[in-house]
Symmetry: C2
Subunit: 132 residues, 2 copies
DNA sequence: CCTTGACCTTCCAGTTGCTGGAACCCTTAT
DNA sequence: ATAAGGGTTCCAGCAACTGGAAGGTCAAGG
């Protein structure tokens, strides 16, 4: 299979596939003309990584998951642990954004939004940043 | 004021302050020995940018906000517009993360998390990625 | 006067996860 | 023969810093 076929079928763009080869996720064969030749296993792996990425797993998470995926004797508990960790990170990001949202939304409500120059948003931004 | 003083008082690390100078946010004086010499205005601007960043404004947003901040005749409506746009982006990110969270959380619930190798999480990851 | 340590400086590289573009080769159809 | 549409490599760049190396400066202590 050529790269554009596997891109279409896996949903991962060619550029990204080359990148995933570069970082060692897949090792497709090469034809005599230098073209990459993908098999069904490559296809599965790419779809797997693509889906994991779209669920917010980092590249390093994917590396771990891919090992577990390749190891047919792994315990589901190991996978669950990685997934739980990812879920925690997602929750932390959501909480962070919701805090931001509350503050900003409050500021927007306070601002008249007219032609006058006085603006509570700018006034508030003069405070020290929120440390994290 | 030296860089570490202004870093402490503004809450923005020295490295980041140098970076902000590089991209033109501030233009502190220089002493004969080459050290940067910050005044109160620099301090205010740095705190302003730091706080805006912590509220999810991008660097480009900050550039716009800084102009509005410097322009004492600006209309508060202009500031409000930038802030509203930022709020929309934050909402979009939250929605995205919540979708991820729901899918992942569902998968985790489905997974026994024991010593056996069968795992609904891995099975599901084999599906095509979520396109966006 | 010398040393020590805490500052400060610049510059280069790395982070994350790709993405765009240039320059070039290969294949297939007309 | 040629043109379109594959494929290849390599280099650069995005955001927004952050770390580290190599070196200059300053104030205090022995």
């Amino acid at each position: 299979m050529n790269i554009s076929d596997v891109a279409e079928r896996s949903g991962v763009p060619p550029k990204t596939i080359r990148y995933y080869e570069e970082i060692g996720f897949i090792k497709p064969d090469r034809r005599p003309n230098g073209y990459r030749d993908f098999d069904e296993t490559d296809l599965h792996k790419l779809a797997f990584i693509g889906r994991a990425r779209s669920l917010g797993f980092t590249i390093e998470d994917c590396r771990t998951l891919l090992e577990l995926y390749n190891d047919k004797t792994r315990a589901s508990a190991d996978v669950k642990r990685v997934a739980r960790h990812n879920l925690q990170e997602i929750d932390a990001k959501i909480a962070d954004l919701q805090t931001m949202r509350a503050t900003l939304s409050h500021l927007i409500d306070q601002c008249a939004g007219d032609d006058r120059p006085d603006c509570p948003i700018l006034d508030n931004l003069e405070q020290a940043p929120i440390r994290r």
